[in-house]
């Protein structure tokens, strides 16, 4: 709140036209007071705490709804995906031409294309039975976990912010800044093995945390909405990193004119977990640790208790002596560090040969999907991240083995989000009862006064 003396310049005045309208009830006693609703009361009394808007409520429901909806959404999306695979398959198209003469052909073709595609998806993401040895057969699973690593970290960052009532869309920017800091330390310094990695990791986490912290601080201090700020910070980060990548002496590899950094030094790279034949790296262990940490914060710590209180009801939190503004800042710092972990694991684990401004690989946005699918709970996000990792790993083999366009996987991912965002649709399809109807309890309208003039 900048200056409460100037309501006309702030949002407060425009948001509540009813509060300062002088309403004289004609013909009634002088003491008759006018009334507005509670929401207006809360706004008037607590301008610095954002009232839960309808937008907020919707997000909140999407982000923290029922786990069964998540599972059903995945199933539904896979079914719709199957239909699309069948429709785009050439054999199905050929067979359908004479569908009425020999419908069996079409059915067989549909079955072959769909089962082939999903088998390829499975073999590309979990276990490949066509390989001779277990070591080679299990490789897809390790790929899945490698892809899942930044997705889980990013999902935790977005999910944690959700739980505090904030929508962190700035994953891309936070990842880019973290990757740049970690990468710069990774290729630009000579430090002993282990220490180098640690310093780069911490540097990256701090970078991501501070970048997200800007949004948190602006929200706390000025009330700027974090959605706008984080989106804009994405652009700032992208162009900042792009510029540094083109500028010799900053991030650009010496002697190169490409906007790309040099390779990371051996001492800074995350060690491979299962030996050099697999890509799975130490970052996965860090992400498991991060999941445990976030679980502890949210369910066991006093900080997480305050986080959740602020996320559920900022007014009550404030009345209970919780400093709502600092919670926003802390939450964004932690969320940024988690997205920073995603960025760091990209540069120190996955792409160690130097990175470009595309290092985030869309993970900052996929993280939102992962957080939604995981219902913003740490272990839900962990599972959702692995699922999306499997889609990424399996999507390529699906295309390679069956000629199914990789875009189908993206469509399936998008459908999952769509179904999660529309729980009534999923409930109708599966004939589930509507939980809100049973539990609905009318809230008493409490009258609120007006200021005496």
């Amino acid at each position: 709140m900048s200056d409460p003396r100037e309501p006309a310049s702030g949002g407060a005045d425009s948001r509540e036209p009813d509060a300062d309208v002088a309403i004289e009830e004609p013909g009634s006693v002088a003491a008759t007071s006018t009334t507005t609703t509670t929401t207006a009361a809360a706004r008037a009394a607590a301008p610095e705490v954002e009232p839960p808007s309808r937008w907020h409520t919707m997000l909140h429901q999407i982000a923290t709804g029922n786990a069964i909806i998540s599972v059903l959404a995945v199933i539904l999306a896979l079914i719709v995906g199957a239909i699309m695979i069948a429709f785009t398959d050439e054999n199905v198209q050929k067979a359908s031409v004479y569908f009425f003469a020999r419908p069996g052909d079409t059915v067989v073709a549909v079955w072959q294309s769909v089962s082939g595609a999903y088998t390829a998806l499975f073999q590309g993401s979990v276990y490949n039975f066509n390989r001779d040895t277990f070591a080679a057969g299990i490789r897809p699973l390790t790929e899945t976990l490698t892809f899942a690593t930044p997705l889980i970290a990013g999902g935790l960052g977005v999910g944690l912010a959700f739980r505090v009532g904030m929508f962190n869309i700035g994953g891309r920017g936070q990842m880019l800044i973290a990757a740049s800091v970690a990468g710069w330390i990774g290729f630009g310094f000579d430090l002993p093995w282990g220490l180098h990695m640690l310093v780069a990791l911490i540097g990256g986490l701090l970078g991501g945390a501070l970048w997200a912290g800007i949004a948190g601080l602006l929200k706390a201090r000025t009330g700027a909405h974090e959605v706008i700020v984080t989106i804009m910070l994405n652009y700032v980060a992208f162009y900042l990193v792009s510029w540094m990548l083109r500028t010799p002496g900053l991030l650009q590899a010496p002697g190169s004119s490409n906007p790309k950094t040099p390779a990371m030094k051996e001492t800074a790279i995350f060690p491979a977990l299962l030996g050099p034949q697999y890509n799975l790296h130490f970052g996965f262990i860090l992400v498991v640790g991060a999941t445990v940490l976030v679980w502890w914060i949210l369910s066991r710590s006093s900080l997480g208790f305050k986080f959740r209180a602020v996320g559920e009801n900022p007014n009550a939190a404030r009345v209970a002596g919780i400093n709502v503004k600092s919670m926003y800042v802390y939450a964004m710092l932690i969320a940024g560090a988690l997205l920073g972990l995603a960025g760091v694991s990209q540069v120190l684990g996955t792409v160690t040969t130097g990175f470009t401004a595309g290092i985030d690989a869309g993970i900052g946005f996929d993280a939102i999907t992962v957080a939604l699918l995981g219902r913003s709970t740490p272990w839900g996000i962990f599972v959702a991240g692995i699922l999306f990792g499997a889609f990424k790993a399996g999507g390529f083999s699906m295309q390679a083995a069956e000629g199914v366009p990789v875009e189908i996987v993206l469509v399936v991912q998008s459908l999952i989000v769509l179904f999660i965002a529309a729980p009534p649709l999923v409930r109708t399809i599966f004939r589930l009862p509507d939980p809100s109807r049973a539990a609905k309890r009318p809230r008493p309208i409490v009258t609120k006064e007006v200021k005496a003039k």
């Binding site: 003491a31 007071s33 009394a45 710590s301 208790f305 209180a309 009550a316």
Partner: protein, 505 residues
């Protein structure tokens, strides 16, 4: 029109919300349906209005059996309903709202607003409602919005009007005006069903009273019955309506407020140069019509108002510029006016809500970790001590009734070492049985030597609790008078008139 309900039964799964309810409302009669929250009053009226289908029983209008498939049928048959939550579109004018749903059009599909306006004016004049058909509903006070609802029902020729808890949203004055309107409607031959749990209103307007408890009719009463009789019918046991309290055992001055002025965020002076003192072991009740600065006064005491001047001191410690955290730590207990908004986190469990304002250290937090065992034990103790009716300490607070929610707030606040208790509207939206309990606890707190500030717009509550009464009007103190000051004097003071026989007490 005569309305008769015969043997209405409505079940939701295993829960019988209405169990063979019989009810007859004669033409031109105000029939009160009295019962606690959750007794089944609203279910019964929803059956009448066609929103629910009864499992058994029938609805008769003028001795003819009716079958309502939905509210449309009920309206067509002459039943109108004034909901507790208004069904109005705020950005529409009064006339537009009244015509909504049965708009008449002129040639070319143009809305016939003129006839709607005329209709609003005609009904408004007939009953002296004084409602401008062209006013935006959003700009109208709640009491007038309610009249728009009444006009809406009357414009559809309703002969039976159902008022569902109509006074819950009204100020005392607006309530009195509504009573007048109801009497007028009755004289014009309309039958009225008046649903409420407020005893005084019932006795004021009702011709007949039917009391419902746990889905059954438990008795009929005449308006001459005493409050105690009605309350015991409603609750099913004898209820003490007046709290038994001894003479206060006054200690030294504990809360000293000097020249307190509060300017609200939109720049209005809401508390104007207020000074008062509360002594240990004393209850100071702040009375006044809603909206005369009481809310802001309590918020200022808690450090929730950013722009205050003047001094607030508790036991000599200046707290006017302290944060809510520091004020809570200094031993101030706070029961906020709107518990859903400010007092509880609905999605949290009872246990979590009980530690809401103690999330910083002992006894529930050690080294950043929540001490779950200690917390759960504490929650179990408090749930039984404060008689919170719940399935368990892990129930979400959202699922509790108003009275039980308030008990959770009270349990949390009273289980700290208090040096001041501030309770704003402690029994608003709370059932009769819980009111008794809450009042007792507040008096016990006083008797343990804690100064108490109770803010209430209900004169009954003020009279029951106060050792002294401070009346506020337009942000100022009209006067501070003894607790046994007659109602009429208080009423005048609440309208801003300074009592003649001296304001000091």
């Amino acid at each position: 029109m005569k309305l008769e309900l015969r043997g209405i039964t409505k079940r939701f799964g295993s829960l019988v919300a209405n169990d063979h309810i019989d009810l007859t409302v004669e033409a031109g009669e105000i029939h009160c349906l009295l019962g606690e929250n959750g007794a089944g009053k609203s279910t019964l009226m929803n059956v009448l209005y066609g929103l629910y289908q009864a499992d058994e029983g029938e609805v008769l209008l003028d001795d003819e059996v009716q079958h309502f498939a939905g509210p449309g049928d009920a309206m067509a048959a002459g039943i109108g309903m004034v909901h507790q939550h208004f069904m109005l579109i705020p950005v529409f004018t009064v006339a537009e709202n009244v015509m909504l749903g049965h708009e008449s059009t002129k040639a070319g599909g143009i809305l016939d607003l003129a006839s709607a306006r005329a209709k609003v004016r005609e009904i408004s004049d007939r009953f002296g409602f004084d409602v401008d058909p062209d006013a935006l509903v959003d700009d109208l006070p709640v009491g007038v919005q309610q009249r728009v609802e009444i006009i809406k029902a009357l414009s559809r020729d309703a002969r039976v009007l159902v008022f569902d808890e109509p006074t819950a949203v009204l100020t005392p004055q607006e309530t009195d005006e509504l009573m007048g309107i109801m009497r007028q409607l009755k004289e014009s031959g309309t039958s009225i069903v008046f649903i409420t749990h407020k005893l005084r209103e019932v006795r004021e307007v009702a011709d007949r009273i039917t009391v419902i408890r746990l889905g059954k009719v438990v008795g009929e009463a005449s308006p001459t019955a005493s409050n105690a009789e009605l309350a015991s019918l409603m609750v099913g046991r004898a209820v003490e309506l007046t709290v038994h309290k001894d003479e206060p055992n006054l200690g030294e001055a504990a809360l000293v407020v000097e020249g307190l002025t509060v300017i609200d965020p939109i720049g209005q002076l809401v508390v104007n140069d207020v000074s008062f003192t509360v002594r240990r072991g004393e209850i100071l009740a702040v009375a006044g019509v809603q909206g005369n600065g009481q809310t802001e006064l309590t918020e200022a005491l808690l450090g929730l108002q950013p722009r205050i001047t003047g001094s607030i001191a508790i036991d000599g410690i200046e707290l006017s510029s302290a944060s809510p955290r520091r004020i809570l730590d200094a031993g101030v207990g706070f029961v906020p006016e709107d518990r859903n908004e400010d007092g509880l986190v609905g999605e949290f469990t009872i246990t979590e809500n009980l530690m809401l304002d103690r999330s910083n250290g002992a006894p529930f937090v050690r080294a950043g970790n929540i001490q779950r065992a200690a917390l759960e034990q504490f929650a179990r103790e408090k749930v039984s001590e404060f008689d919170v009716r719940t399935q368990g300490i892990d129930s979400k607070v959202r699922q509790l009734s108003g009275g039980n929610q308030q008990k959770v707030v009270l349990a949390r606040e009273l289980s700290r070492d208090l040096r001041l208790l501030v309770a704003a509207q402690p029994t608003r939206g709370v059932d009769v049985g819980s009111i008794e309990f809450i009042h007792k606890r507040i008096v016990e707190t006083r008797d343990s030597g804690v100064p108490v500030v109770v803010v209430s717009t209900e004169l009954d509550e003020v009279a029951a609790l106060a050792d002294r009464i401070m009346v506020m009007y337009r942000g100022r103190i009209v006067g501070i008078v003894p607790g046994d000051t007659p109602r009429e004097v208080l009423g005048l003071m609440m309208a801003g008139e300074v009592p003649t026989e001296g304001a000091a007490a």
